[in-house]
């Protein structure tokens, strides 16, 4: 078993999360945005696993499972939306879809 300090695990999760966040902020393609969201969710799951591993308890893994289900649902709906939007706007540019501006 890898006996790494918990800080390192958490820092890894943080780095991955922030990379995902940068992606969300920078990319204009909706598919990329969805991919970056996956990265962020995954990073959150990683943090749970690290913490669960620190205490040797199953709860971290349970949480990861929940995140997994949410991710699955999110991706299915998100991708369906991508298809729908692509039909509608003929582009995947997120900036073009600003119909809800105030």
């Amino acid at each position: 078993m890898a006996e790494v300090p918990i800080e390192h695990g958490l820092l890894l999760a943080a780095v991955l999360f922030l990379l995902g966040l940068i992606g969300v902020m920078v990319r204009r393609n909706i598919i990329f945005i969805l991919l970056c969201l996956e990265i962020m969710l995954n990073a959150a799951g990683l943090a749970f696993i690290v913490a669960g591993s620190r205490w040797g308890q199953p709860d971290g893994q349970v949480m990861f499972l929940f995140i997994l289900t949410v991710t699955a649902a999110e991706v299915s709906v998100g991708l369906a939306l991508v298809l729908h939007l692509h039909h509608r706007f003929k582009t995947l540019d997120a900036d073009a879809m600003s119909g809800m501006k105030g």
Binding site: M1, G20, I22, L35
Partner: protein
């Protein structure tokens, strides 16, 4: 095993950086799969073999395949990569980068200040997880199933074709 952790971590970070910088969606997807596999290895080293397996099967397998399907359905051609190049002006990275750095600093400060201890004390196998899942978190499981059902229904509703004319038109434009 510790070295495996750090190696996998390096792979995961590099792969992720590549994900967010690629112009071609399929390339990015492949890098993401690499990243997810690296994280699966990390899970394994942290004594969580069950979720490591799930990570490979569901994340890298099922979900990413879904992405592949969609990208294929959208039939993105070379002009998509061209558009990506146009969109990804180098200047656009500056702001989010600074923001992320500040956040990283704050998060890092908090992590390094508080926590203590090491990981990987023991292997927590599928059995333990399953028992916990179906006793303590029973309600959560039920809710998760509902979420999945809702996702199913929602995806079906959104993805339903509304007549061939509209659809054909869309394909012509993309092709």
């Amino acid at each position: 095993m510790t070295i495996v952790f750090y190696l996998s971590a390096a792979v995961a970070v590099i792969a992720t950086v590549l994900v967010i910088t690629r112009l071609n969606a399929v390339h990015a997807l492949l890098h993401l799969i690499v990243s997810l596999l690296a994280i699966a290895v990390i899970f394994f080293t942290l004594g969580a073999p069950f979720v490591a397996a799930l990570e490979v099967i569901i994340y890298a397998g099922a979900i990413m395949v879904l992405f592949v399907f969609v990208i294929m359905m959208l039939n993105l051609g070379p002009h998509a990569a061209e558009a990506e190049r146009r969109w990804l002006d180098p200047a656009i990275w500056v702001g989010p980068g600074i923001l992320a750095l500040i956040l990283a600093g704050e998060v890092g400060y908090l992590i390094l200040r508080g926590a203590a201890g090491t990981t990987g004390a023991a292997i927590v196998g599928p059995q333990t997880v399953g028992v916990s899942l179906f006793t303590t978190y029973m309600l959560g499981v039920e809710l998760a199933s509902l979420v999945l059902l809702a996702g199913l229904v929602g995806a079906y509703h959104l993805g339903r074709r509304r007549g061939a004319g509209e659809d054909g038109e869309g394909e012509r434009t993309n092709g």
